[in-house]
């Protein structure tokens, strides 16, 4: 092929890109003004549904980065049926996740037997001080509203769509 033809074709490609960007707009999004919404399954932040948590410490043990800290104590809750023996209930005092250490692997959400932890695609919680990345129980519960419902599955899948306890 002629010596210059590859060079000219290269120029053609970049010129085509210029016209494409000018006419059809750029692929980039001007972040602070417009925002792309992440996929519903994106692992942005972990939300805690406090009601379900029985402080069984499974997530703390399974976390590879040791970034979940739980403190709970036992209480006597009123019996379910009248006259029954008071129930021993685990009361949750402290449930902190240190996002400075967390590597977003999702083992805690998966291993939790009582469906207390959920993923939410929120990603805008950066802090100037790294210490503020330690989200406490209330902050994690606030994330609960941002947790989207589980999506339906592709055709041919036998998985059951779970429900997010609101």
């Amino acid at each position: 092929m002629a010596f210059g033809s590859g060079l000219v074709k290269g120029l053609g490609v970049t010129f085509k890109e210029i016209t494409k960007t000018v006419t059809k707009g750029a692929e980039t999004v001007q972040y602070p003004h417009q925002k792309e919404d992440p996929a519903p399954r994106a692992r942005g932040v972990i939300a805690l549904h406090e009601g379900n948590c029985t402080s069984c410490m499974l997530c703390v043990r399974e976390c590879p980065d040791w970034c979940i800290y739980i403190e709970g104590h036992k209480e006597l809750a009123p019996p379910r049926r009248a006259g029954g023996k008071p129930r021993q209930v685990n009361k949750l005092d402290r449930f902190d996740i240190d996002y400075g250490l967390c590597m977003y692997c999702g083992i805690c959400v998966e291993v939790c037997p009582f469906e207390a932890l959920f993923w939410s695609p929120e990603y805008e919680y950066s802090e100037p001080r790294i210490a503020d990345l330690l989200h406490d129980k209330t902050r994690l519960s606030q994330w609960m509203e941002t947790v989207p419902d589980f999506e339906t599955y592709e055709a041919g899948s036998e998985a059951k769509v779970l429900k997010v306890p609101r």
Binding site: L7, V13, R41, E62, P64, M103, C105, E110, E154, E158
Partner: protein
Amino acid sequence: MSATAAGPGSPIANDSAADHPMIDRRQLAYIAAQAADARVNVELEAEGMTLNIGPQHPATHGTLRIVARLDGEQVVDADPIMGYMHRGYEKLAEVRTYPQVTALVNRIDWLGSFANEVPFILAAEQLMGVEAPPRAQWIRTILFEMARVANITLFLGDMAVQLGAVSPVFYAFRDREHVLNQIEAATGGRFHPNFDRIGGIKDDLPAGWIAETRRSIGKIRDFTQEMEDLIIGNEIFQTRTRGIGVIPADIGLSYGMTGANIRASGVDWDLRRDTPPGQSSGLAYDQIDWKVWTHPDGDSYARYWVRLQEVREACHIIDQLLDGLPGGPIMAKVPRIIKVPAGEAYVATENPLGVMGYYVISEGGLEPFRVKIRSASFSNMSISPWLLKGTYVPDVVTILASLYFILGDIDR
């Protein structure tokens, strides 16, 4: 001259070099020319200059440092120094349970990260004697090929920027973004999916995922066409890469080079197809038809060319997988707390950078007793002291870019 796609049928590894004399003669001619330049300068006994390329350097993918003794602009000898990114995965794996190691291990080759999990999980499944259901295997293969596409499209843009053309790398980032979005939509993580489990995968594909993935794969196909016009045809690119960094096949094999680097030297070997006797590749490659690309030259141009064809082939594979995805469960019957029975197993797969394998020794407990991680870039890079001798400084950048290593893969 666009190279013929049909590399030599039988792998070059057999001794009879008779059936491709022309290629070997041309390869040896290239090397002789480079060595001749080096010998001339050495005889002049000019006192050289030691140049530190790295660890902070635009040409090294991460923190690799090359101490090069230069004579003028010619490298007399190059000694790569690694370890700036050494995180000690083999030690960490000994104190982590199997699910934790899976979450950890996709940070080795962070560009095609799902591809790191697959061999480790296959090794653990082999030890436990568990087989993933067909739907899980097909979804694993789709994500495996999408990791390959995400990894190698960045190479196609990145090699151009190492040679000076700034625009192609933006096209690479722009088009692989769609693939990453699809990986995130299915697994939840763009770079670190942590989606593979012993016995299957974590979750099934969301609705509408297949259609959206087909569209993003179409974008990748346009990208490869754009790279063909912009880079492969460019005469400046050809003058910069033809005959530079030539690796004959048997030297490459004795250094343990794998993947596109060795296929560019004419070796027709791909673990996805050439699985050991009695074993399946653990993925769904045997149920679809696809082709292994080789190139006879063995120089930097050939490596770029082979990888470009591999991305196209990956798009072809993904399309077929998406069409024939079987229904059914995505997880075999596996106990909740995984205790892998005692034994030793080695499984290797054809990762985007080359062959990646895990030698897992289990003592029957929660944690593996020893995990030897065979990473592709470590062996691919081990040839660089031999390869960089006698080259110019700009060629050092070209050769390193064409070898396409990732620092996490080298340092582990």
